[in-house]
Each structure stands twice: as C-alpha cells, then as structure tokens.
Symmetry: C2
Subunit: 335 residues, 2 copies
C-alpha cells in the first residue's frame, strides 16, 4: 500500500477498509427470521446499507450520544489513535451501563482532515472495537466526512433485558451513596500531561484509556439500585445533578472516598490536595449510585455518603457537612 492519507486513498476505499475491519466482529443472521429477532444483541444488518438493524429484545432501546473534538477532548500528541478510539467508545458505553442496561452496539461518525494518516484511522478503529468488545458489543455502522480537524461522534445502544431504566431522579432520603470505579485518576493524568510529563504511567493511562466496569450497572440494577449515573464531569458536579434531579441532599464522607495510591503520592509531589482530583476530576466514568440503606451494596461499589431530605437551601451536595463548590468541575463553554 503506497497511499498513506485518507485523502489519497479516497472516502470509498477508507470506508471499505473500515467495513473489512468490523466485518469479523459481526454474527450475521437472516434479518427476516424470528430467530434473529429474538436473539439478544444480534446484529441483523451491519454496516454498509442505509442503516443498521440490531435486536432490541426488551422492546425498548437505550440510546446515548457524545461528541469528541480534537484539541478539546483529546490531543493526538498526548494520546495514541487506539486510546482515542477506546475513550470515544468508553464514554458512551459507560452511559449505557449507568442506565442499568447491557450495550448492544454503537455507531461512529468521523470527521477527518484529508491529510490524516490511514494508519491513524486503523488505530482508532482498533481501540474502539477493542473497547466495544470489552462491553460485549461491536460497531454497527457510521459516517465518514472531511473536515479541518478531527471530530468524533459516537452513539451507543443498550438493552434493559426486562429491567427498569435507572434514572438520576430516583434517589430517596435515607439511601446510601456509593461509587464503583476510580475517581480522579483521569484528571490527575491530564494534570501530569499538562505539566509536560508522561508519568506516573497509571494516571496518564487512566486519562488516555478509561476502563469502566460495564457489568457493574447491571449488577446494581439487579440489586435494586435507586438512582444511578455516570461520573463524567467530576464527582461533586455529577452528585449535584443527581441531587437536583431527585430533589434530595447528598453528604459525602471524605474519609470513605477511594483515593488511588499513585494519585495520592502524585498530589503530594505537586503539593496539591488529592481531593481536588477525587472530587473535581471527570472522565474516569465511575458509577455514582444510591441504594436503600441497611443492605450490602453490590460487588465493586463502595459507600461514600448518604442521602437526606433536601434542606431549606434546596438540593445541595456537601462533603463532611461543608460545601465544596470550588471543586464542581468545568463548564465547556466558559473554560
């Protein structure tokens, strides 16, 4: 192969290359048969037609979409193509898990400068397919367009398997608050990269390649979780969203927060409070959930706080009884 950029190769050839990479992940079935309709998660029409068709055995489909913009959500000098593909898949698949559902597929729209190396597209697809496989699913289709910079749009789908969708709005006074997954490591990794370093590797990798536990949402749903959401913008800002949606107060016990050892030592080296990352950092895609108190939380979840009736100031989130509003994440358009 002498063609090295997508512009040299041409849209049709690049799309054919992507189709060949994804084809092996599909278990095609005759789209018309009852069998394929009933088979959970089965792709009945994969990429290459006007639209894809995937089984939705529950009779409802869970849908989420996210867009990643080069220079704002990723940098090609900080993350490999594989990492960016993984991250694009992970942040959407984590939203499916946060509804208490199982992922059934994703589609990706890719805007690329014509001078993008075909090898970058290969790497991106590899990372995306690998992460989709971690969630037990694959790529159903997509779109490829030319642009001045890279923009990635991913939409992911899930099936509830007869379960109820777990909303942010169903936390009850008296619940315990629990998290599953790491908190602050991705933000610490971004801080490391921003200072020009490439280590500690564990933190940099957490930023480049979040690795949510996609089965935790199902476990929580089966355990009767009350409210649940993906922590994408930081624990405090997302807990506030959950509190507001549910009309409750949340208090977090700082001593109960899981603080990664490497994060703690890096914070010490930078002379920072590790809670700045743990409470304020996004992009780890941990699950934040509330459960009825007095029972064990599901495997992988750690109790970090409690839910009470909203006080006179309306729904608030406190840490050890105090407001920590200076740590409530970032605003895309004001930053």
């Amino acid at each position: 192969m002498t063609e090295r950029t997508v512009g040299e190769m041409g849209e049709i050839a690049v799309v054919e290359r992507i189709l060949a990479m994804t084809a092996s992940t599909h278990a095609h079935a005759d789209p018309g048969t009852e069998e394929s309709r009933a088979d959970s998660g089965r792709v009945t029409v994969g990429p290459g037609d006007d639209a894809a068709v995937v089984a939705a055995p529950d009779g409802r489909v869970v849908i989420t979409t996210d867009m990643l913009v080069e220079g704002r959500h990723f940098r090609r000098d900080w993350s490999r193509a594989e990492d960016i593909g993984c991250k694009a898949a992970a942040e959407n698949l984590a939203d499916i898990a946060a509804m208490g559902a199982r992922a059934t597929g994703l589609v990706v729209a890719l805007a690329l400068p014509p001078e993008t190396d075909v090898a970058w597209v290969d790497g991106f697809l590899e990372g995306l397919l690998e992460e989709a496989a971690r969630a037990g699913t694959t790529l159903l289709g997509g779109d490829l367009v030319a642009a001045d910079s890279i923009t990635i749009g991913v939409t992911a789908f899930g099936d509830l398997g007869g379960r109820r969708p777990v909303l942010r709005s169903s936390a009850c006074a008296g619940d315990v608050v629990a998290v599953c997954g790491s908190l602050g490591c991705a933000a610490a990794g971004l801080a490391v990269l921003s200072r020009g370093f490439r280590s500690p590797r564990a933190l940099v990798d957490a930023h480049r390649r979040p690795r949510p536990d996609y089965t935790a949402g199902l476990r929580a749903n089966d355990a009767g979780v009350h409210a649940m959401m993906d922590v994408s913008d930081g624990l405090l800002i997302d807990a506030r969203r959950l509190a507001q949606a549910s009309g409750v107060d949340i208090d977090i016990t700082a001593a109960d927060l899981p603080v990664d050892d490497v994060l703690a030592s890096t914070a010490a080296a930078y002379n920072l409070d590790p809670l700045q990352w743990v409470l304020g950092g996004g992009d780890d895609h941990a699950l934040l959930a509330t459960f009825a108190s007095g029972r064990d939380v599901p495997e992988g979840f750690t109790v970090i706080g409690s839910v009470s009736e909203a006080g006179s100031q309306g729904p608030t989130v406190t840490v050890d009884g105090k407001k920590r509003d200076h740590l409530t994440g970032f605003e895309h358009f004001r930053s």
Copy 2:
C-alpha cells in the same frame, strides 16, 4: 435576556434551553410499566439523563448516523439555522425510510464555537424538531460541546413494525427500477447559490431544506419492494452501489426520468444538460427502489429503468444502454 452567545450563556443554560424546547414534544410515560413498553414509538426516558429510552416494539431497532460539517455540508451565509436543522434531521430520517421503517426518534450532538448566537441554536432546534415532526417523531437527547467550527452529528432510529428491513442487496434480474421524490433539484440549488444567485427559489429551497416523503419507504415495504436505498450522493453513483450490492446490471431510461420544470429551465439558462443534475446531483433524498415487474409500483414512485443479470463487466449502471461515468457524484476526500 442579555446573553447572546452560547459562550456567554454557558453550556448548562444552553442545554436547559434545548430541553425546554423539546420537552413539549414528549409524551412521557412511567418507564417501568408494561403499557409504556408496548406502546409503539413511545419515549419512555427523554433528554436529561445519561441516556434516553424509546420503545422498539418490533424487537429490532433501525439505526443510522450522519455528520454535517460547516463549510463542507452547509454554509451559514447560504442557509438559515432552521434550514440546517431541517437538513440534518432529513438526511438521517430519509435513511430510516429507505430501510422500509418508521422513524422513532433522533439524537443530536452539536459542536459549536462559543461565539455562536443562542438564536442560531434556537433556529437549528426549531428546524430539526419541525422535520422530526414531519416524520412523526422527535428529539430524544444529545450532546453539546465547544469547537472552532460547527459540526452536527445526528443519529436516527426506526421501527420495522414486523416488516423486513429493505436492503440494497436484494434487487433481482427482471425488476423494474423506480424513484420517489425529486432528483437534481438540491444540486441545481447549490449550483445557483455557488454562482452568487438566490433564485430560482424552488431550487435553492430544495438544497436548503430537502423534504423527503417519509411514508414512501413504508408503502414500498408493504408493496413487497425488492431493494431500496436513499439517493444521497447522486442517482448514478447510488444506483451503482445498489447494482454492486445486488450483483446486477441497471439500465436507466433517460426519457422516463422525472425532470423538474424549474430545473430544466435553469439548466437551459446556464447552457447545461439538465441530466447532469438529475443523474449526478445528490442531497434530494429521493428513494431508489426495485420492484418485481408486471405490477403497479406504489403511489409516488415512477419507473425509470430495469434490472438485468450482471454482464461480463460485472455490475454496471447504464443510461439508455450507455455508461455515463463522468456523472457519478463526488468523493468527499478527493474533492
């Protein structure tokens, strides 16, 4: 309201504004009840949570995604925000119709420069919601991010209602080829705008605001259509895709092609062959379909050619028996 740009207003306020605009289009139901699960096309969880949930009564869901990039797929000086919203919805909803399905929802990811007027976002949403309503559906959710230029990612969903998905690959030798919808008007409108004119208005509007017939795909499916696809890149290039997917030859009869009167007179004024637009122009989102011969085609469809076994040169598309390869649309990355 004194805030005029999305950057001044902030992400959260803009999202709340969008949610308020879409809320009225949702018939919310208790997501846990059997009734809401069985109710065709019902939105059980709308925008505002980690993911949306929509009914998929067929047990399968049809999915398509498209990305529109400012300067490549639209220009803000040529199209109003309402038109761009309409077009973004239409090109996805047309793909759902082309599978022989009924639209059940769409999600939109929007990358916007912080200096974008909030009024532009309002207009975009209005156009998108209006076109979604034409297809009997609405907006389920989305994502809003900052970027240097506007990029729009739309993903649309559909339900087959027990019908089979209509593929590009099922054309049979002996079929008639038919189209439903206008051909070339959007391309002629783009040519008019490119020459610095704003009229004829009918052509400019066809470019700005394609208006596919979303029920035609269902009618075709119910009438036993063999193969079908959306004409997005031009009749010849899309007919070639259908011929290749089906392994057949297609011959189009030029005299049977529907040629819009305004298109014809504009081509004459520009001293162009109108077939350049009719055969080569994309973006009208007409349906291209093949039906068993000897029966009436469904209402709205016009027979324009025939399908035969692929000859020695493999699947080809001819017009009156001759190749017209110079009119086979454009390549995004080579243009």
